[in-house]
């Protein structure tokens, strides 16, 4: 009877184990569409055999719980790539907005920031027109009108850039609020995991924590360190604590030199956060690098044109025979005191077209020689060693290159995230053989892609150099 009972016990145990396993499977099925849920696999353990009357009887298997099929190394790599992709994607959106300001208005003659290049040309061309009839009032009005359009478009672009900067600060502040909420939740989950599952996978709680970490990675660049008892320490990429065990550290904001800065543990961490990744990194990079670069270029353009034109106009004599003095300068544009801020404040201060000094002193008011010099400024290297049009054109071209560079970076990072998600899914959802197949697909794809790249590179180099092969990438 003992044998039959033992046998029944073995069968019963196996049935119980099957039942437990079925509950793990049904849990997986029920959570198939739950974001962040990691499939669990039942852990089987062989019961120690029982010896009855010298005969060893196997005692079947028992189910000892479920383990989530997650891999922290891969998950961390995925989080890291997501941080980079989120940063470049956010920066790209901001850069596209900046670039849109400098895209010429097609098919319209209306003034717009995008028309600055043609505004500069039109302004200097108006002096060329004045050369032919220096006393003509309509032509003098045209000079002031062109100057007004140019100044208006430059200051409008600068003000739009300042507006974009303020909007980016506001968006970054919103991100900080979300970061604080997530780090608080992660600290809370840390406590729960440490108390309920200090030595083993915490299943759903671990899933929730991973889900929060993934969201956090979209927002800010982080490093994560697993501590004993299954706890987690989260820092920014520069090492400032965000979460330590059950404690979270708030990201706060404050105004420094008129801009919103971000603080952690009392220290201003803005520049580190800008290079750290995540959406916050993207917003802050656009705000602290891309917009200031664009503004600096516009400021330089505005400053150089204003000072050069004013200086030259003051050197001549106007239609009333007057020449510019310190007390009564013949300034066309307001005189900027310094380069910074010149674009936003650029405006035309001259209201009387007679004050345009087309003539050179001593040659009579009907002379045009100063107008010739003023028109010639278009071809002089008056803006940082470049002509005004070339300077503006190089600025727009550099901006375009930055956009392309970030676009390229973003394409690669998104592709990397897609690949890692595929690999992560393969790891979480299938057996070791399928996992090996997934790895093999990655390797085969890489090899095939390397071949395509080499061939394309050769074809392009060959086509560009008419037979002489050189690397183009």
């Amino acid at each position: 009877m003992g044998t039959i009972n033992a046998a029944m016990s073995v069968i019963g145990g196996a049935l119980d184990a099957d039942q437990e396993a079925l509950s793990v499977v049904s849990n997986n099925v029920a959570n198939a569409n739950t974001p962040g849920y990691t499939q669990e696999k039942p852990n089987w353990q062989e019961n120690p055999p029982i010896t009855i009357g010298g005969i060893q009887i196997g005692d079947g298997v028992m189910e000892t719980g479920a383990t989530s099929q997650r891999d922290r190394v891969l998950q961390e790599r995925l989080d890291q790539q997501q941080q980079l992709a989120a940063a470049s994607s956010t920066r790209l959106t901001a850069l596209n907005n900046i670039q849109a300001l400098f895209t010429p208005d097609s098919g319209s003659s209306s003034a717009a920031a995008g028309d600055i290049g043609s505004d500069v040309t039109s302004f200097f061309d108006s002096f060329s027109s004045l050369e032919a009839a220096p006393t003509d009032n309509a032509l003098r009005e045209q000079v002031l009108s062109s100057a007004s359009t140019l100044a208006g478009d430059i200051s409008s672009a600068a003000n739009s850039l300042n507006g974009q900067s303020a909007a980016l600060s506001q968006a970054a502040t919103g991100i900080a609020t979300q970061v604080n909420s997530l780090t608080g939740a992660i600290a809370q989950l840390n406590l729960q995991i440490e108390s309920t599952s200090p030595k083993a996978d915490a299943g759903t709680l671990e899933d929730q924590r991973q889900q929060d970490l993934s969201q956090l990675s979209q927002l800010i660049g982080i490093n994560q360190v697993t501590t004993e008892n299954n706890g987690l320490t989260v820092t920014t990429t520069s090492g400032q604590l965000l979460v330590s065990e059950g404690q979270s550290f708030q990201l706060t904001t404050g105004t420094v030199n008129g801009a919103t800065d971000f603080f952690l543990g009392g220290a201003d961490d803005t520049s580190q956060l800008a290079s750290g990744g995540g959406q916050l990194g993207g917003y802050l990079t656009a705000r602290s690098v891309d917009i200031p670069n664009a503004l600096a270029s516009l400021d330089q353009l505005a400053y150089s044109i204003s000072t050069s034109v004013n200086t030259q106009n003051n050197a001549g004599i106007d239609l009333d025979g007057a020449t510019g003095t310190a007390a009564n300068p013949l300034n066309i544009f307001n005189a900027p005191a310094q380069v910074a801020g010149s674009a936003a404040s650029m405006t035309v201060v001259m209201t009387d077209p007679n004050q345009i000094a087309a003539a050179t002193a001593g040659k009579g008011t009907g002379d045009n020689s100063n107008a010739v010099v003023l028109a010639g400024l278009a071809n002089q290297t008056i803006v940082n060693g470049q002509t005004p049009v070339n300077y503006y054109s190089n600025f727009v071209s550099t901006l375009g290159s930055t956009v392309l560079e970030v676009q390229t970076e973003n394409t690669a990072q998104n592709a990397s995230v897609t690949q890692l998600q595929t690999q992560n899914n393969a790891l979480s959802r299938v057996n070791l053989n399928d996992e090996a197949a997934a790895m093999s697909t990655l390797e085969t794809s890489y090899q095939a892609a390397s071949q395509v790249f080499t061939l394309l590179n050769t074809v392009m180099a060959s086509a560009l150099n008419l037979g002489v092969e050189t690397a183009v990438a």
Binding site: V73, T411, Q419, S445, L455
Partner: protein
């Protein structure tokens, strides 16, 4: 609607060769999706293109056309190169991961044998 579908809908339409720009962009997409079969197809196309180019001499029409396409495709090829770099890094992570997991399995097996 993709080109093949367009071709089916209008059989009289002239089938044009995909431009280098489109090929580079397609290669990036295929690599992101780990579509090894598509990448191998692209490799075959590139090989054929490379042979056609090698057969041409001097500044032929094909060379001029390809030079134009190559200039337009430079950014896409650069993006493809970056995707390739990212893939190499991912592959290296996966290889290390796999070695680590196999190491754990071997360790468990050895521990079991010693019990």
């Amino acid at each position: 609607m993709d080109e093949r579908k367009t071709g089916q809908a209008n059989p009289d339409a002239v089938t044009s060769e995909p431009e280098l720009k489109a090929m580079a962009a397609e290669a990036s997409r295929a690599l992101a999706a780990l579509d090894a079969a598509r990448l191998e197809e692209l490799a075959v196309s590139c090989e054929a293109l490379s042979r056609s180019l090698a057969a041409e001499s001097g500044a032929s029409e094909l060379r001029r056309e390809l030079a134009r396409q190559a200039r337009e495709a430079e950014d896409d090829l650069a993006a493809f190169g970056r995707v390739l770099e990212a893939t190499r890094a991912n592959l290296s992570v996966m290889k290390r991961l796999r070695e680590m997991r196999f190491g754990e399995l071997e360790y468990q097996a050895r521990s079991g044998a010693g019990d």
